[in-house]
């Protein structure tokens, strides 16, 4: 069955995605980009250009380059928005039949849907090239506030482009679908969509299999572009103060500054400070001039603060319009590239008192949602086989009371994992397998599921016996743990019925606890690991000396013995630095015995096991 293409037809940029067996996938266009500028142009050579190519000739061909046409689609010429936009856009706009809007490209007067159709046709063609199959149907998204005429015009645009439009989907609903929130029952969702040129807020209510738009709001002339403009204005005026040069007068310098500023803006989403370096940006009588300016996150935030405050006010007003209280809102979704800005995320979080959803790329989330809707319609999104996951990690206790994980949390079941362990002492004939569940580093902090003993191990030096421990969880969450001595073939096992049947709250509590103790647990764990290494090194050193006998000169032996004693005296301390120091001194001293002799020693395997429980060896 042919795929249905999910299309986010945006004011500034468009994106597309399809549903595959493994989930939604955003498709790249023919230029290799995941978003396509919603721009169409007729070049001076009378060639029609769409997307990035149209954008690249905007400066020298502004009259024939049509962008932001979404602002006109399905609108009446007399609408105040049309009259406003008409004044600021560089291309010609006139009144067509029945009070409709027409735009001029070359010698032709086009309806907005014809222009949008050109963008859609490119997306269709690029999707077909990417997939190697024909695309005939699409789900296209529109803002929630679009009226019937705007929806119909968008649908017409699709049909003109040769697409059968299976559904016109609201953008905020698409965002909710992308996060799987349509499966929730009776929830109120706020979608905060801060795009390049528009800001939309929608309040949705999810009922039984329906998503209802309760209110919409925002500002059709507020967006990320305002942020960029503000930053450029600031940088240009600062530079003018410093050097007396007006960058606005030099198009290349301005272009370089724009790119530098955009990069800086992106970097400030993760860094607190960045530097914009543009050597040789200009020159005057005294010679070449360079642009070097630090920009801090705080400065950026202060520059755009007013926009953020305004957007939050608008968002809160929309919630009020929907006749909800802030506390009624269950989920908040962030859409639009600008929402990557930490200050904006913080402001949203503060206003709604909850962490907003932001896992899906905010530039692509609407297209992804459109693909999810397409998937539902082509019947792909069916949960044929629901596979469970283990909510918490499963493992055993090893040397020093450490919890060694065999199966990590969130592993899809059924699954099995095997690992080889060994003994911690010479002639150890039994090992205890202590099966645990949890996220803490130390065994004693986790939940005991079972204990059993494997005995009858043939006497051998520590680290030599090989005990194979196998964890196997079946589809019903029943855990089988077995331990097998590879020498004697002796096996013991235990069956644990309820390894996954913890309540959601309990799992959450345990996870939170682990998070809370993360740092302290890590320290404890490192200390135990260090102690284990110290013990095995002492063991190895003593064994090496004994085995080497007279082959090692007495002075080296004495020196080693001294270091061994030194390490023994500090290995049980709680100061990792002193253990590390003694350990490295001993290691250095040991090298003197000579590599040949060292290699001949049996039983110098890594991390020998403990008593009574086992120690970790190498992975199989």
């Amino acid at each position: 069955m042919a795929k249905i293409l999910g299309i986010d037809l945006g004011t500034t940029n468009s994106a597309m995605a399809i549903m595959e067996a493994s989930g939604p996938r955003v498709l790249e266009n023919s230029e290799g980009n995941r978003t396509t500028p919603s721009i169409v142009a007729l070049s001076k050579a009378k060639e029609r250009l769409v997307g990035l190519l149209a954008k690249r000739q905007t400066v020298t061909n502004p009259q024939n380059t049509i962008y932001s046409v979404k602002r006109f689609i399905g609108r009446k010429f007399s609408d105040s928005e049309v009259q406003h936009d008409k004044k600021v856009l560089p291309y010609e706009i006139r009144e067509g039949a029945n009070n409709s809007v027409e735009v001029k490209m070359g010698d032709e007067w086009l309806k907005p849907e014809q222009v949008s159709a050109m963008v859609l046709a490119k997306l269709k063609a690029d999707a077909e090239a990417a997939l190697g199959e024909r695309i005939e149907e699409a789900v296209i998204t529109v803002p929630a506030y679009f009226d019937d005429s705007q929806r119909q015009a968008t649908k017409n645009a699709g049909e003109i482009a040769g697409l059968k439009v299976k559904r016109i989907l609201n953008e905020p609903t698409a965002a909710a679908l992308a996060y799987g929130l349509n499966k929730k029952k009776n929830e109120q969702i706020v979608v905060y969509d801060f795009g390049g040129g528009t800001f939309d807020v929608s309040v949705l209510e999810v009922g039984d299999d329906t998503v209802e738009v309760k209110a919409t709001g925002g500002d059709t002339h507020l967006g990320g572009d305002d942020f960029d403009k503000k930053v450029i204005d600031y940088l240009v005026s600062e530079y003018k103060k410093q050097e007396g040069i007006d960058i606005f007068k030099d198009p290349l310098a301005l272009q370089r500054l724009r790119e530098g500023a955009e990069k800086a803006k992106h970097e400030l989403s993760t860094a607190m400070e960045t530097e914009i370096n543009l050597p040789y940006i200009s020159s005057d009588a005294s010679g070449p001039k360079h642009f070097v300016m630090k920009l801090t996150r705080a400065k950026l935030e202060s520059l755009v603060q007013e926009f953020i405050v305004r957007s939050i006010d608008l968002a809160l007003k929309t919630v009020k319009d929907a006749k909800f209280d802030i506390k009624d809102i269950d989920e908040v979704i962030l859409v639009g590239g600008q929402t990557r800005m930490p200050a904006m995320q913080e402001a949203v979080k503060k206003a709604f008192g909850k962490e907003p959803h932001k896992g899906v790329n905010p530039d692509e989330v609407v297209a992804v949602g459109a693909a999810v809707q397409a998937g539902i319609m082509q019947g792909d999104v069916k949960d044929i086989l629901l596979l469970d996951v283990t909510p918490l990690s499963l493992g055993i206790e090893t040397l020093g009371g450490v919890f060694t994980r065999l199966i990590e949390k969130n592993t899809t079941i059924p699954t099995a994992k095997t690992q080889i362990f060994s003994t911690a002492a010479d002639n150890q004939t039994t090992v205890e397998i202590h099966v645990l569940q949890g996220e803490r580093e130390m065994a004693s902090d986790n939940k005991t599921l079972a204990r059993f003993i494997l005995d009858g191990l043939p006497p051998a030096p520590r680290g030599v016996p090989q005990v194979e421990v196998a964890f196997d969880i079946d589809a019903n969450g029943i855990l089988n743990v077995s331990a097998k001595d590879k020498a004697s073939g002796k096996t013991q096992s235990v069956r644990i019925e309820a390894s996954t049947s913890l309540s959601k709250d309990e799992v959450e509590r345990l996870k939170n606890e682990a998070k809370m103790h993360e740092a302290e647990d890590k320290k404890k764990r490192e200390l135990v690991d260090l102690k284990n290494t110290a013990e095995s090194t002492v063991y190895m050193a003593e064994k090496a000396l004994k085995d080497a006998g007279d082959k090692v000169p007495a002075d080296i032996k004495d020196a080693i013995n001294q270091k061994v004693e030194a390490l023994k005296s500090v290995k049980d301390s709680t100061d990792p630095e002193s253990i590390k120091k003694a350990l490295s001194e001993l290691s250095q001293e040991l090298q003197k015995i000579g590599q040949a002799m060292y290699k001949d020693q049996p039983g110098n395997q890594q991390s020998p096991g403990d008593n009574p429980s086992t120690g970790e060896e190498n992975n199989q």
Partner: protein, 165 residues
């Protein structure tokens, strides 16, 4: 006689049940086997996809690095142009530039070849203004302002040009 018939039926009944049971199990078996095969196929396909994705990520990582270095090349060109105005420039500076370009060439970066008088092609060029130049047809490239680059034949930065008026 009726008793005998009853007896026969009784014997038939379990056979019928077993047959139904067998059919049901057969159906279940097919369903499970299919599900298993499908799961295995999914995994294999996923592994293939993953390998492909890994390759893409590697390429993307190179692209990100190369993109960051393009402004350095720009500054180099601007710097040399500024130095040339004041007289001859030490040869070593040109060698360093070539070195940098060669290193990026190994990663697949090529400078887009273009000169004044060429036709403007938005697939490779970006216009940032107009200029009056004698002898060049209107709409053709009048002046190359900033070099453009293609990485493995994909344009990562178009050549910035001024068009002839």
């Amino acid at each position: 006689m009726p008793d005998e018939k009853q007896e026969e039926k009784k014997e038939e009944q379990p056979a019928e049940d077993l047959k139904n049971e067998l059919e049901k199990l057969q159906k279940d078996k097919d369903e499970y086997l299919n599900g298993w095969k499908r799961a295995k196929a999914d995994l294999i396909n996923y592994q293939k996809d993953e390998a492909k994705r890994f390759e893409e990520i590697m390429q993307y990582a190179t692209e990100a690095m190369v993109r960051d270095l393009i402004p350095v090349l720009d500054s180099f060109e601007l710097g040399i142009a500024a130095l040339e105005k004041n007289g001859p420039v030490d040869k070593g500076v040109y060698i360093i530039k070539t070195q940098l370009e060669e290193a990026l060439k190994k990663k697949g970066l090529e400078k887009i070849k273009v000169s004044a008088g060429d036709a403007f092609d938005p697939a490779k060029h970006e216009s940032i203004g107009v200029v009056t130049i004698e002898g060049i047809e209107s709409g053709k490239i009048g002046e190359v302002i900033e070099s453009g680059y293609a990485l493995n034949e994909k344009v990562v930065r178009p050549t910035r040009v001024k068009l002839s008026k």
